[in-house]
Amino acid sequence: MSEGWDVVIVGAGIVGAACAAECSSHGLRTAIVEASGVGSGATAAGMGHIVVMDDSPAQMALTHYSQDLWYGLSPSLTPSVEYDRCGTLWVAADDEEMDEVQRKHHVYAQAGVPTEILDSRSLAEAEPHLRQPLAGALLVSSDAVLYPPCAAGYLLQQAQHFGAHLHAPRKVVTAAAGKVVLDNGTELHAPHIVIASGADAVQLLPELPIRKRKGHLIITDRYPGMVRHQLVELGYLKSAHSVTTDSVAFNVQPRRTGQILIGSSRQFDSEDPAVHHGILSSMIERARWYLPSIPSLSAIRVWTGFRAATPDKLPLIGPWPGDETLFLATGHEGLGITTSLATGRLVADHLLGRKPEIPFEPYLPVRFSRSLAHA
């Protein structure tokens, strides 16, 4: 069977769904192919945070832009998406980290993101269950959390409302030169193919510079009011940005339900979805240092997931050199939920010939093509 579309999107995780919603709502006839279920891959495994991060100006720009888009969309989101603008507290354990808080405050201000510096006492008031004393924290009140599978579901429904067609569950066998072939033989033809299948994108394009980065999460039973903001240690950036070693960093998030998500961990070179008890243990010990009540909480479930990581911690959003019909929207590492809406916008901007609202050059896949040519 053969179908003609304006754009075919591979992957209905939150990034693919966001791309589909953007493309479809702007009049592009959109097909989207999903191998398993909507929002069932890395989207389902992640915490669901919407967080502005300043590892680089490009990361700041993308996360800030997308955070604003989420805020603008929030009144339309259904209750099951559980969007909650609870804010993030970047927690400083000592004076050195407080210097970092000052620095971040300045950087975020320059980028137009208002933040507030909390001293030790105001931090204790804001989060009474945190270890005391801590040095203080940076409060980013515009950050939010949500429930990712339902967010992806919402975006996909928006896309379908504008006529997008979902092929699921269907695996993509090949995607090249304007043709996407599915495992049931169906051929989808389009001048534009967007690869939004996360770490699985390497199955279609083996030369993609994407590696799986395994993470662990724990979810607890309900403890309403115990944690009010997303809590992250300043060392999180060091953990997220180590390219070679396994690491853990304190990152805890309240759900609207009162359940608490406990993370985070990062491991390279593991494709095994089984829980790694050593890493889990380290993650818990780290979290316990910041939240002493953590060991006594009731844990309902532990799971793992795989982030799609690139060598420079920025996603791949843009045309794939070597095939003018292919467009990438992948490699989001731990910022897929956050930057999904911005990714959708940038993809649609390119396909529709619109001027993007932020510079798009830092995310172009072509930045790796020289190293790929030598591979």
Partner: protein
């Protein structure tokens, strides 16, 4: 050991604990779930506000979760009553 339908044994004294601030007396060997039922309280309130009580009696359904001596989410159908326990239901 509980043997409902018979009169209380003269040998084993009743266990007295408190459920939601009210004193409850049970046969030794009774579980906290039984004490809560005797007190006439549901063990928990569901996420949409419905009263709930134990369903499975064997630690599977988790409807019997109560707070015992300050610790929440304890499976009361598998915990024996102890003298002076402070039990609170959601």
């Amino acid at each position: 050991m509980p043997d409902s339908g018979r009169s209380k044994s003269a040998v084993a004294p009743a266990v007295v604990l408190s459920v939601n601030g009210v004193s409850v007396s049970v046969i030794p060997g009774s579980t906290v779930a039984a004490a809560v039922c005797i007190a006439g309280a549901p063990t928990r309130t569901s996420v949409t506000g419905q009263p709930r009580a134990p369903l499975c009696g064997m630690g599977i359904c988790l409807e019997c979760r109560v707070t015992i001596d300050g610790t929440p989410h304890r499976r009361s159908c598998q915990i024996l009553c102890a003298p002076g326990m402070d039990v609170r239901t959601a």
